[in-house]
């Protein structure tokens, strides 16, 4: 009986143990330094547990597209400004942005990840509650273009927002400093307290990018994040680029070099006209391996919609 039990158990192995998409390129991992005193995490920092690409891959596995040569910096005949210039322009545009606030922070993003068979893309929209008692919820766009609800279990107003490696509440983000130096000091305080991570500047770049990209912070905090990024050493301007959604912007990049000689680059793409951050992309060896492109990020006082009513 016992031997039989183990055999039946072995044969009962669920199909969900096998990934729907081929593994990510290991070059991504090898682009991290070997001997870091702290372990960096090559994960999607804006993606909360429970609504990650893995979670949506099952739904969108059918949408596996072959990608032609990854798009790089285009030459639009512009004289690229320095990274600091661009970021300061974005900060100035952000200074005049209206103050926001509301029951829900609504973020729609497209995630993409390069796998052996091609580019896997997925779009989700999250309604993240900012007040205790309101439920957070999420939606996935399926390949036909319709939306399906996707529970975001374990998410509350106290832990909805991921910044600097840990979940934060909306109140905590709203209280971030509005001066670049104080913001940097606050982030470094979190850096010191965190167990995981990378170089100090890499951490500041990722945290700053997260703030401008998809987090519900007041406009002055977002402007401070741009100014903090402008002062970070080692950030290069890549000039005009097109993001994965075909939108024009200017990219700034932070590059790290793994011990195998493989370079890993984090790019932040900003629309200089509006001061809005459009996307963050991860590049290794000249190819875009993954990206998060923000389709919209806005406040809402509405009740989360029925999936059937979304478009």
């Amino acid at each position: 009986m016992s031997r039989d039990t183990m055999r039946i158990l072995a044969e009962a192995s669920p199909r969900r143990l096998t990934p729907d998409v081929p593994p990510a390129d290991p070059a991504m991992i090898m682009s991290y330094p070997r001997e870091a005193a702290r372990a960096p995490r090559p994960t999607r920092r804006l993606v909360l547990a429970g609504v990650g690409l893995a979670a949506v891959a099952a739904v969108t596995a059918a949408v596996v597209l072959r990608q032609a040569t990854p798009q790089g910096a285009t030459t639009a005949g512009l004289d690229p400004a320095t990274a600091a210039d661009l970021l300061l322009v974005a900060a100035t545009r952000t200074d005049t942005a209206p103050a926001g606030g509301g029951r829900y922070w609504v973020v729609r993003v497209e995630h993409g990840e390069q796998r052996d068979t091609g580019l896997v893309r997925a779009t989700d929209e999250r309604w993240l509650a900012t007040k205790p008692g309101d439920p957070s919820t999420g939606y996935l766009r399926d390949p036909s273009g319709g939306w399906k609800p996707r529970a975001v279990e374990g998410h509350t107003a106290e832990n909805n927002l991921l910044l600097a490696g840990r979940p934060r509440s909306a109140a905590e983000l709203a209280a971030l400093p509005t001066s670049p130096d104080e913001l940097k000091a606050k982030l470094l305080q979190w850096y010191a307290a965190s167990s995981a991570t990378e170089s100090r500047d890499g951490f500041l770049f990722d945290s700053g990018a997260a703030i401008v990209l998809g987090l519900p912070v007041p406009a002055p905090v977002r402007a401070a994040a741009y100014r903090m990024l402008a002062e970070l050493p080692g950030i290069a301007s890549l000039g005009p680029v097109t993001d994965a959604l075909g939108r024009s912007g200017i990219a700034v990049a932070y590059t790290r070099r793994g011990d195998g000689g493989t370079e890993g680059q984090q790019r932040l793409i900003v629309d200089p006209a509006s001061g809005n951050a459009l996307a963050q992309e991860s590049w290794t060896a000249g190819a875009r391996l993954s990206y998060t492109a923000v389709v919209k990020a806005e406040w809402s006082d509405d009740t989360p919609p029925d999936a059937a009513d979304m478009h």
Binding site: T5, L9, R16, P19, I29, M30, T43, A49
Partner: protein, 180 residues
């Protein structure tokens, strides 16, 4: 030149064991968290390549185990694994429609066990590890693993046996079978 060799060795380990580490991560923490657990595990393997033994799988699963317990708060992981077990049930229900009930009953019984028992059993049954390798993953002696596996198997058999009875409380299972 050690570095190109390292890159080749890491790439080989990654491609050979990615699926197994993924499967372990799904069975312990659910699909929602699995990709991130796998990334963290292989990043550790890359950083500590010299420490990776010639048979890497038990070592990799041990790292994945630590990643899961250190990185996720208990309630996040519980929610994710609960959702995972529900998804298995849905998958198995499709089998029942096809007339394959043994598999559905087995997955249902497995879902009723505690996390520790589930891990002991699936490391052997799904990951294909011997008790010696499985013991290395959970960090106990082979003898202890053997004893714990034996008990876990008994509990699994009880859970299997009790499942139909739970739906027919008034009738013991044997009577039910004789009456057919």
């Amino acid at each position: 030149m050690k570095q190109p060799d390292d890159g080749r060795r890491f790439t080989a380990i990654y491609h050979e064991h990615h699926r197994q580490v993924y499967a372990y991560a799904v069975s312990r923490a659910g699909r929602d968290l699995a990709d991130d657990i796998v990334s963290d595990t292989f990043l550790t393997a890359w950083r500590r390549l010299d420490a990776v033994p010639p048979t890497p799988l038990p070592w990799l699963l041990g790292v994945a185990r630590n990643v899961i317990s250190e990185r996720y708060r208990a309630e996040v992981r519980q929610a994710s694994i609960a959702a995972e077990l529900r998804a298995w049930a849905v998958e198995a229900q499709a089998d029942v429609a096809d007339g394959v009930t043994e598999r559905a009953a087995m997955l249902a019984a497995l879902a009723r066990l505690g996390e520790d028992d589930r891990e002991l059993l699936t490391l052997v049954a799904w990951q294909g590890l011997g008790t010696r390798e499985a013991a290395r993953v959970v960090g106990c002696s082979t003898a202890t693993y053997f004893v714990r596996l034996h008990r876990a198997r008994k509990r699994l058999e009880q859970a299997l046996f009790q499942a139909p009875a739970a739906r027919h409380v008034s009738r013991p299972l044997q009577t039910q079978e004789h009456s057919r």
